[in-house]
């Protein structure tokens, strides 16, 4: 096992309880720089909870969450976030939305010159997501897909160490969604980003990710033989994905692609199928597991 400081993100024995209800249990996870991690799981399994823990919006009940070796405190600029909605500030124009992050940290002296620089930088990112001509519009004047592009640019300008995305394309129509998928792959390659991408769309997860994490409450606890669905969700599978050329979504039609999705559905989403905790498919080189009683 590598040293935990080498990872962008390192979670060990993380558990999250709300009162008596365990939502996440025994989460062990290490993410290296440059990884495109996609997270899938049945609805209500705690994907968003995991995301909130990593953001620092909520604290784990036990266990530790480190970012490049340091414990995570409150939300901060080294973790960017793009939500499905509410990512943009409705009262600011598109350009101002993107500039905001940089402006917030400006000192009082020399504002004017700095602002000009920020403006140029924001226009550059706006160009990257193909929305230069919409700079002076308000978010409500843009379509859902365009709004998400702005949200991505808004997060990118802060150059976060990891970009968290919570079902960012969930509300978009299929055509727009595919365009957005290609765009995020392109941006990921160009900017050498690390992305943590939560989605409920298996196809999207397989198409985008270099690594898939399946979070599920359907598994057999190592200390019992019964299926205990009351358990908190765990990472039941964690393996590398073949990366697809980001130029086409044709690959989604291949048989191989379909088979992989079937497999994922079986591993994580089938309430009749319980894997034993000791036999999870954790093939990814970064993955590790500390079983209870060890």
């Amino acid at each position: 096992m590598n040293n935990s400081t080498e990872y962008i993100l390192y979670l060990k024995d993380v558990q999250k309880r709300y009162n008596d209800k365990i939502v996440l249990d025994d989460i062990d996870l290490a993410v290296s720089k440059g990884e495109f991690c996609t997270v899938v799981g049945p609805s209500g399994c705690g994907k968003s909870t995991l995301l909130r823990l990593i953001l620092g919006q909520e604290q784990p009940s036990s266990g530790k969450i480190l970012m490049t070796g340091k414990p995570i405190q409150l939300p901060s600029p080294d973790r960017g976030i793009v939500y499905q909605k509410y990512s943009l500030f409705p009262n600011l124009t598109i350009l101002k939305n993107i500039m905001l992050g940089k402006e917030l940290s400006l000192p009082f002296i020399g504002r004017r010159r700095a602002k000009k620089k920020i403006r140029n930088e924001a226009m550059h990112y706006l160009g990257d997501v193909g929305l230069t001509e919409h700079a002076e519009k308000y978010p409500y004047q843009l379509s859902g897909g365009m709004q998400q592009r702005v949200a991505i640019a808004q997060a990118l300008i802060m150059k976060p160490k990891i970009l968290m995305m919570d079902e960012p394309f969930g509300a978009l129509d299929p055509g727009t969604r595919e365009n957005m998928q290609l765009m995020i792959l392109k941006l990921w390659e160009e900017n050498r980003m690390t992305i943590f991408f939560v989605t409920h769309d298996l196809e999207e997860a397989v198409f985008l990710g270099t690594r898939i994490l399946i979070l599920s409450q359907f598994y057999l606890h190592e200390s019992s033989d019964k299926s205990e669905v009351q358990n908190g969700a765990r990472i039941v599978a964690d393996y590398p994905l073949e990366s697809f050329a980001p130029s086409s979504t044709k690959v989604k039609e291949t048989a191989e692609f379909g088979k992989l999705i079937q497999k994922i559905r079986y591993e994580g989403f089938d309430p009749e199928y319980f894997q034993h905790a000791a036999r999870f498919n954790l093939e990814h080189s970064d993955s590790f597991q500390t079983l209870k009683g060890e």
Partner: protein, 279 residues
């Protein structure tokens, strides 16, 4: 052929543009006509009737108060009264809006402040402001301070609570997003949340203006040397319905225009505010 009745009655009615204007004017016209007829009938019985003055008498009252100088003081009464009243109303409402906004936003964002301030504000918002007017007059005197305090106390709790509710409605996502963009806690409150809530504040002020007028006129009626409310209650002693009616119409007009300006201000300056689309 068009369906009969669809231009006015029924939930699918679609009145043509001209008809909409006519419909809007109709109630006003009706009132004026009823007034003129009543006044006419009463003047036929008694040419010196004061209770329902004729339109020409009201015109004279307007001429006397708005376009000629008072014999005793040399002021134009309507202008003097309007200035005095608006100054009080503006000061009171501004103070209430500023403090209500700051307190409301902070209550919405910070649980500690909420715990400290909200129960108190909820409690004092139940005090009928007019009931403590005597206290205010005793404490602050019958000058400007007492009147301004009454307007302030009467409108401030409502503004604070309204802004607080709106601040609480701001999605957690927006706040977390601001933090990930490097905003400090103060930055979240003052640079992210406050600008979002300003149009909401203006809407709240619009609603509070009605109460503001009420408190203004009440306090002027009781103890004052000038003001619209003062004048109305002064001339009441001489049954000067002509002046009272002139003043009431004038006050209504000011209130209506103020409301209209604020409404337009929100629409022009904050075009995003009424767009319910979630972004």
């Amino acid at each position: 052929m068009k369906k009969k009745g669809a231009w006015f009655l029924g939930i699918h009615a679609d009145p043509p543009r001209l008809l909409r204007y006519i419909l809007a004017i109709l109630p006003f016209l009706l009132i004026v006509i009823i007034y003129i007829i009543t006044s006419d009938i009463r003047h036929k019985e008694n040419p010196y009737d004061k209770l329902v003055p004729s339109i020409s008498n009201i015109g004279k009252a307007l001429q006397k108060t708005a376009f000629s100088k008072d014999k005793r003081t040399g002021d134009i009464l309507l202008v003097k009264d309007t200035c005095a009243s608006l100054k009080r109303l503006f000061t009171g409402i501004s103070l209430a809006a500023a403090s209500g906004f700051i307190l409301g936003v902070n209550m919405g964002m910070m649980p500690g402040i909420r715990g400290l301030v909200l129960p108190f504000i909820v409690f004092i918002s139940n005090i009928p402001a007019l009931a403590i007017l005597p206290i205010l007059f005793i404490l602050c005197g019958v000058g400007e301070t007492g009147k301004i305090m009454l307007i302030f106390l009467g409108t401030f709790p409502l503004i604070a609570r309204d802004v607080y509710l709106a601040a609480k409605q701001i999605p957690t996502e927006t706040i977390v997003k601001a933090l990930t963009l490097g905003a400090s806690q103060k930055g979240v409150i003052y640079r992210v949340v406050m600008p979002i809530l300003i149009p909401k504040l203006i809407e709240t002020i619009r609603l509070s203006l009605g109460a503001g007028w009420l408190f203004l006129i009440a306090s002027e009626a009781i103890a004052s040397q000038s003001g619209l409310g003062y004048r109305i209650f002064l001339v009441r002693r001489y049954l000067s319905m002509d002046i009272i009616i002139t003043y009431v119409v004038w006050i209504t007009l000011i209130a209506f225009i103020a409301d209209f300006i604020l409404k337009k201000w929100v629409a022009i300056r904050y075009p995003w505010y009424h767009e319910k689309k979630e972004v």
